[in-house]
Assembly symmetry: C2
Homo-oligomer: 341 residues x 2
């Protein structure tokens, strides 16, 4: 099968690899029908994060058709059309039952397996995979694929930030996750959604997804602008979808006293001063999004065409051109790249 492998910073290749196969009786193997590149794939691409192994199989978002199931898989059949989270989970342990499937006691990070490939092994298939109501029409595939990570992560960020009716939500980060955090905040009933973005194309998408205001300033000037828009108090809810010190500071400071910050950018060299946090009186919650918790609901919204998260894909390339996809996202020529087989 063909698979994307990263050999080092900036060095991504599509190669022929041994076909994925059942390794554990709880595994399934799916034929991936569309793959994509995540903002988090860019950290090792930029050399900001080491590779686990070299070469590293890449990708953790997926949609596909069950090809084969292990002997202990009971809820799936070959031919089922499925979506799963970027973290495999049993969906039965105490942590899963509490809604934190991404931190399942048996969790497997799909990024270590790689789903930018023609076939992918999905551990804990019964707990991980969710069937779509049938075979999706081609126009639904990008949205369903987005549910696997960026939509589910944006949704979690909005939930963690307690976006809801009567709330003003500020969103730091205009990548796919930040943009879908806007969509989620809108779906959760937020009254006002302030997108922080300086890119005209992303501002347009932010508005399409539900942003009511755009703030193009950053850092202290950005925080001042948010305060200005909120009677000097700050936003009730802030989504941090970047993972840098600047973004975290901006998010904390843009929140009002007693407000909520939901952070889903994987933190890189981020440091939080305890005394500042104490006197900010905010609620801080984040981490790897428990996408599995939201999948049924997200699939339903997509299937009924109530949301169109697939709009974040602004570049579609043949699978064999994955390297160009990484390059385009790294150079910010694309927000999110879909790879077609």
């Amino acid at each position: 099968m063909r698979a994307v492998m990263m050999y080092g910073p900036g060095d991504v290749r599509v190669e022929e690899r041994e076909k994925s196969r059942i390794e554990e009786p709880t595994d399934a193997v799916i034929r991936v029908t569309a793959a994509c590149i995540c903002g988090s794939d860019l950290w090792p691409y930029r050399g900001a994060e080491p590779l686990g192994i070299t070469p590293q199989p890449m990708g953790h978002e997926y949609i596909g058709i069950v090809e084969e199931i292990g002997s202990e898989v009971t809820t799936l059949q070959p031919g089922d059309y499925v979506v799963g989270s970027f973290v495999a989970s049993d969906n039965t342990c105490e942590i899963c039952q509490a809604g934190y499937q991404s931190r399942c006691v048996h969790n497997v990070m799909m990024g270590a397996i790689g789903t930018q490939a023609e076939y992918a092994r999905i551990p804990l298939a019964d707990g991980t995979l969710v069937k779509t109501p049938g075979e999706p029409t081609p126009d639904l595939i990008p949205s369903l694929l987005a549910a696997s990570d960026v939509l589910g992560t944006g949704w979690f960020a909005a939930v963690a930030a307690e976006a809801g009716p009567g709330k003003t939500v500020a969103v730091v980060g205009d990548g796919a996750v930040g943009l879908l955090g806007i969509l989620a905040a809108k779906q959760l009933g937020a009254e006002r959604i302030i997108a922080m973005s300086r890119h005209a194309d992303r501002q347009a998408l932010a508005k399409k997804f539900g942003a009511t205001d755009i703030v193009s300033e950053r850092g202290e000037a950005g925080v001042a602008k948010i305060k200005e828009l909120t009677n000097g108090l700050g936003a009730h809810s802030v989504i941090e979808a970047v993972g840098t010190q600047e973004a975290m500071d901006q998010a904390r400071q843009a929140a009002r006293m007693g407000g909520h910050v939901g952070f889903v950018g994987v933190s890189h060299d981020v440091d939080i001063d305890g005394l500042e946090l104490f006197f900010s009186s905010i609620h801080l919650h984040g981490g790897p999004a428990p996408v599995r918790q939201y999948l049924e609901h997200l699939i339903e919204l997509i299937w009924n065409r109530e949301i169109d998260p697939g709009a974040v894909f602004d570049l579609t390339l043949p699978f064999d051109d994955a390297a160009e996809g990484y390059k385009a996202m790294n150079e910010r020529r694309a927000t999110k790249v879909l790879l077609e087989f």
Copy 2:
């Protein structure tokens, strides 16, 4: 009037000062009926925090009788018996209405005014002071005084940690706030409450307040013990009531994935690593407790003798012996000191 003044680390004196008087039309002046010393008063006493001015009037907890009211005070009369929070608040602004009275847009920290004195000026009296149902019998005074800060702060910590039915709550810190966090967790319906303490007298009080388990280990060993008691997962809820790096680390690590940490120890040189926080998937919330939010409820529980938070006072001294009270708390000979007039 007599008042406690701090001249520098270790130097506390009871002095004759000008009597407190109305300065703003929204002020009240109360005759303080009992005063006490807070763990946070020990930070400057130990030289770990600078004084605001020298000498610094001390104290921020209070109970007393209204002596005089400003021209705009409408809900109080001289003679009313009252309790207030350690932060004065208007109780009407948007932040107060959201339950964060300690961060009121007009908040005044009572520690800057000083309530270890015969009389105290209370700003924003209508918003700040809560009347007791009548004149309390002497046995209720310590408990009502505790409501002003340590009980209200422990209560907020338990709420911030989402203590409740079915939850296992771990409490880091066996000072007055930690102990009253146990009482609060019990009142909120927690199933299991693990007190972290190595002092026999405090362990006994922890059990009296509702602790079901005692862990005497600290740091990593303490965390390991909490995991051992919770199927390897960690506590659902953790209260941090110290304010040091060690206590914050212990609290974060003792919480399970998706759990809640409520921190009320004023952070001193505490640093939180963003990536560790990300992968811990905890909810982190704390700050100066919005005691005012809970006062009516706490007064009712005390008045009906459903709770006895006054039990944290283990040393009562004449007001003129305040310096000895500071010394006893600093040397950990006393958990909390009440000063009688």
